[in-house]
């Protein structure tokens, strides 16, 4: 593929990762913080931003490690453990930098930053980019798109749950129960984006 085709493909992957193949609503990855931290728009926003940032950067890093270290040595099967190590170390690093230079951001993100280490959507994105054999540029688009997709989904969910706070929900369905049902309905709604992009 030449340069222009690469860029347009990366863009297609970027858009499809946000909408048609939303990592949360079509693959149901990263569901735990999605249900746990979606009570308020404010905190969901902070977590969403952190996920976008970490997902994009770790996808890039993992791509480099996979293609320049693991592939030449024939150690592809090691990607699970290495990806996790890299994600964990990177999240720590990001936390340190943010704490030092932006106490405000640090305060907004709070405990959510370290929580991202164990967010399976982050590992999922890195593994998808390997399975689908993306190039580096496409991986950047995919990582960023997946992050934004996750961000949009949790913001939407938090908005809905804030409205739900004043509604009368049957006791057995309160909390995670109704949240899962809403997530299902949201996933159905996102299916509506299918076909927007040809070839994704």
């Amino acid at each position: 593929m030449n340069g222009t085709a690469q860029i347009s493909y990366a863009f297609v992957v970027f858009i499809s990762a946000i909408f048609t193949q939303n990592i949360l609503l079509s693959y149901f990855l990263g569901l735990c913080p999605f249900i746990g931290v979606s009570r308020e728009v404010k905190t969901s926003f902070g977590l969403g931003i952190a996920v976008i940032f970490v997902m994009t950067t770790t996808c890039m890093l993992n791509w480099l490690v996979y293609h320049y270290v693991l592939m030449p040595l024939g150690l592809e099967f090691f990607r699970f453990i290495l990806f996790i190590i890299i994600i964990a170390a990177f999240v720590q690093l990001v936390e340190m930098v943010i704490e030092r230079y932006s106490p405000f951001m640090y305060q907004r993100l709070g405990v959510f930053l370290p929580l991202i280490t164990v967010n399976c959507a982050i590992l999922g994105a890195s593994l998808f980019m390997v399975i689908r054999d993306y190039s580096f540029l496409v991986t950047v688009g995919f990582g960023l798109g997946s992050g934004i997709g996750w961000f949009l989904a949790i913001i939407a969910m938090a908005g809905i749950r804030q409205k739900l706070a004043n509604e009368r929900i049957p006791r057995g369905l309160q909390g995670p129960g109704i949240t899962l049902i809403i997530a299902g309905l949201m996933a159905l709604a996102f299916i509506g984006f299918t076909g927007v992009l040809q070839g994704s």
Binding site: V69, L73, L82, I85, L93, E99, Q107
Partner: protein, 367 residues
């Protein structure tokens, strides 16, 4: 095959080591806050390396702030005022601070990270809290499951406390417990005796600290305790006093009685002390001495179910029943209670019925 194993181990170790090195280097750059100066109550100043939480920094300086959770932000006890340098209130602190506290700069010490110079205020009574190293000087059996322990202070050499306060005894790691725990016990000795404290401890079956005290602690062993804590103390009023205690609840009352004797306090006082059988009563002679030494003090031991051969001619039944029989109108009195939660709840109920309001009831509840 062997080659692959070696290569893979090598690669993972190398990448792991590389990341660890990166973390260490960046920690050095990013988490270096330099020396920070902490000013306590405008009196004391010290400089420490920034980057740690305030609670651990303070305990490193021998300033003990009460904390039950060990700095995880789960108990909300380590409150103090931070006037400068703490940054905005964290979401982890919000649940523990009410509106007034937020406006007066109260923060949780375990959540505030020292990043720059701080100006803080620690309540005076907390400044008196120290860690004491002591030697166990004497262990005396009071009943079959209550012992009196005497600890002589080694470092620092003397302790100042208000009669009625308690200390926290540090239980070291021993056979039956894999972690250090602190347990609170009221001081029972005379507060004029500043170089030793006595505790009255009842054996709790399976209890970490009491088992250690009863089965492992020996005379001349060294132990650590910190304190004093608590606001259970004698008020300044002239109202007649009703003491109600049971078992090891004797401790703070005994301490207060010593204090009343020392200060020549002339308040009328009656002490109802409950036990199940006669052989569970203890320190009776000392109480009879107080009766003759204090101006207007009466000791009323109450035995719930005296056994046939014990020849008991005193009050019987529950201690609360004896109070109810004796005290017709309690509205003028003040009550000081110490004992099991069940006894305290029962006593408070009776006292309410006798016309006492909550402002006049003081208690220490040890679960």
């Amino acid at each position: 095959m062997v080659f692959t194993v070696l290569i893979s181990v090598g690669v993972v170790s190398l990448i792991g080591a590389g990341l660890a090195a990166l973390m260490v280097v960046s920690e050095h750059f990013f988490a270096d806050y330099g020396p920070c100066r902490i000013t306590v109550n405008d009196e004391r100043e010290f400089t420490i390396e920034g980057g740690r939480d305030l609670l651990s920094v303070l305990s490193g300086e021998k300033l003990f702030i009460p904390s039950a959770c060990g700095g995880r932000g789960a108990c909300g006890l380590c409150k103090l005022k931070v006037f400068e340098g703490a940054g905005p209130l964290l979401p982890t602190e919000e649940p523990y601070l009410d509106k007034d506290e937020r406006e007066s700069n109260v923060r949780l010490a375990c959540q505030v990270k020292v990043r720059n110079n701080l100006k803080i205020e620690i309540p005076q009574e907390l400044l008196a809290i120290r860690e004491y190293t002591c030697t166990c000087a004497d262990i005396k059996d009071l009943t079959h499951d209550i012992k009196q322990f005497r600890f002589e202070l080694v470092e620092p050499e003397s302790i100042d406390y208000v009669p009625g306060q308690y200390i926290q005894l540090l239980t070291p790691v021993y056979e039956k417990s894999s972690e250090e725990v602190h347990r609170a016990y009221s001081i029972s000795s005379d507060s004029e005796e500043k170089d030793a404290v006595e505790l009255i401890i009842r054996l709790v079956p399976g209890g970490i600290c009491t088992t250690w005290c009863f089965e492992y602690l020996k005379v001349s062993d060294q132990i650590k305790m910190n304190g004093p804590y608590g606001d259970f103390r004698l008020s300044d009023s002239d109202a007649p006093i009703v003491f109600i205690a049971g078992g090891s609840g004797m401790a703070p009352i005994k301490c207060i009685l010593h204090y009343m004797k020392n200060t020549g306090n002339k308040r009328k006082a009656t002490y109802y002390f409950g036990a199940n059988v006669v052989k569970e009563l203890f320190l009776i002679d000392l109480m009879r001495d107080f009766e003759s030494e204090l101006t207007d003090f009466q000791f009323v031991p109450v035995v719930a179910e005296p056994e046939q051969d014990e020849n008991w001619d005193g009050e019987t039944g529950l201690v609360t029943e004896a109070v109810q029989r004796d005290l017709k109108n309690a509205s003028e009195c003040e009550a000081y209670l110490c004992g099991s939660p069940g006894m305290i709840d029962a006593a408070i109920k009776i006292l309410h019925e006798l016309g006492m309001n909550d402002d006049s009831i003081f208690y220490d509840k040890f679960a």
